[in-house]
């Protein structure tokens, strides 16, 4: 008996089964999500990131930040994410699929060599801190194992009498008269980081209590396309 066709058809069905379960069905369920209208504040969540933050996402991607930093907070009861203060939702559910609606590339990450960055835009809002930290992480976090991203900056020696640029990093007392300027990539990356927050109270991720809004996306939500100006 020729068993070739049997193996071929079997293979086809096995593949079709996993494709149906892990590609098609998830697409049906979460492929058409839209922004959620938060009744309490009248705001939509999530909001589309500003142009600079969007450019920053490309810098984050190109330099592989997601190999060491996750962007997903596990729910209460699973690991210590909530106890570490990485989540910003007061309810038990933390990261949900709607949070990533406006990410061009969803980079959840799989390793925590560094801390989770889901809500870094809430934890550290100081742009200068972020720039300084990218330039020399151990100056702000002694003992940090993060590599410095000096290639995102340019360094000049100031001529006598020359004024420091307003963009320049704070002067290093060990190297007076040297000016460190962030590149456009560095500024975009910081705009991206400070814009990260997954804190909206949603139907699927309630706060301790909020009156539930209509259950289905269709009723409560507004179509995605006309995105409002970013909140921050």
């Amino acid at each position: 008996m020729n068993q070739g066709p049997l193996v071929f058809v079997g293979t086809f069905f096995a593949l079709a089964a996993t494709w149906f379960t892990f590609v098609l069905e998830p697409s049906q369920q979460i492929g058409n999500q839209s922004q959620f209208l938060i009744e309490d504040s009248g705001q939509l969540f999530p909001v589309k990131p500003a142009g600079l933050a969007h450019q920053g996402e490309a810098v984050y991607r190109a330099n592989g930040c997601f190999y060491c930093h996750t962007m997903q907070v596990r729910p209460q009861g699973l690991g210590g994410d909530v106890a570490r203060g990485w989540g910003a939702r007061s309810g038990p559910v933390q990261s949900v699929s709607r949070d990533y609606l406006f990410a061009e590339t969803t980079m959840l990450g799989s390793q925590r060599v560094g801390p989770d960055l889901t809500n870094i835009g809430l934890r550290q809002t100081n742009l200068v801190w972020h720039l300084q930290h990218l330039y020399d992480p151990s100056s702000l976090a002694p003992g940090s194992t993060m590599p410095p991203y000096r290639f995102l900056f340019t360094k000049h020696t100031l001529k006598p009498g020359q004024k420091r640029s307003p963009d320049a990093l704070p002067e290093d007392p060990k190297a007076p008269g040297v000016e460190v300027l962030p590149s456009d990539d560095a500024k975009a990356l910081v705009a991206y980081l400070t814009g990260l927050h997954s804190d909206g109270v949603l139907y699927e991720a309630p706060a301790f209590y909020v009156k539930p809004v209509a259950k289905a996306d269709k009723k409560a939500a507004v179509p995605v396309t006309p995105a409002p100006a970013p909140a921050k």
Binding site: D40, S41, S90, G91, V93, N126, H197, D199, F208, Y209
Partner: protein, 188 residues
Amino acid sequence: MPIWLIAIFILSGFSGLIYVGNHSGWFDAQVYEPFVDSQHLEAWARPPGPGEELKRGKATFGTLCSTCHGDTGTGSATTGCPPLDGSEWVMAAGPNRIIRILQNGLAGPIEVKGGKYGGGAVAMTAVGAALSDQQISDVLTYVRNAWSNKGKGAAPVTIEQVKAVREKIKDKSGYFTPDELLKLPEKD
């Protein structure tokens, strides 16, 4: 095929199905861990009993405030971050000033419990801007009733008070300064 292998297959499949029963949320797209199903999710969203606001406030405090103010509200003299525990600002008769601090942030030198704090390059950021009225009232109520502030009879901060203050300062942009706040009454 040995029998025990078939038994393992059936047994593992069976326990896998039990796992799916407990963790799948019955294939509802809205159910995430740790909810079991949509009824569990709905039940969670119902108004809670008394005392729950402190739990919620503590959770918010843990994510947003404790990084600088410390887990027990002691603050830090080195970073210029004032204490909350025993602070006369926190324990004022009304929440008029502290709601403003949360909503817009605070910059400039401030005196708390006789010590001088702040005034450097680092200011308190507008952490409350991203929170709901509910969350602000919870976290302030918690701070006013936690640690040694407990039992001093500080009134809870209501959602209405938060709403009212937010409405008043909706056009204000940028940080408040301590001097600006001291001109305001503690309580409306």
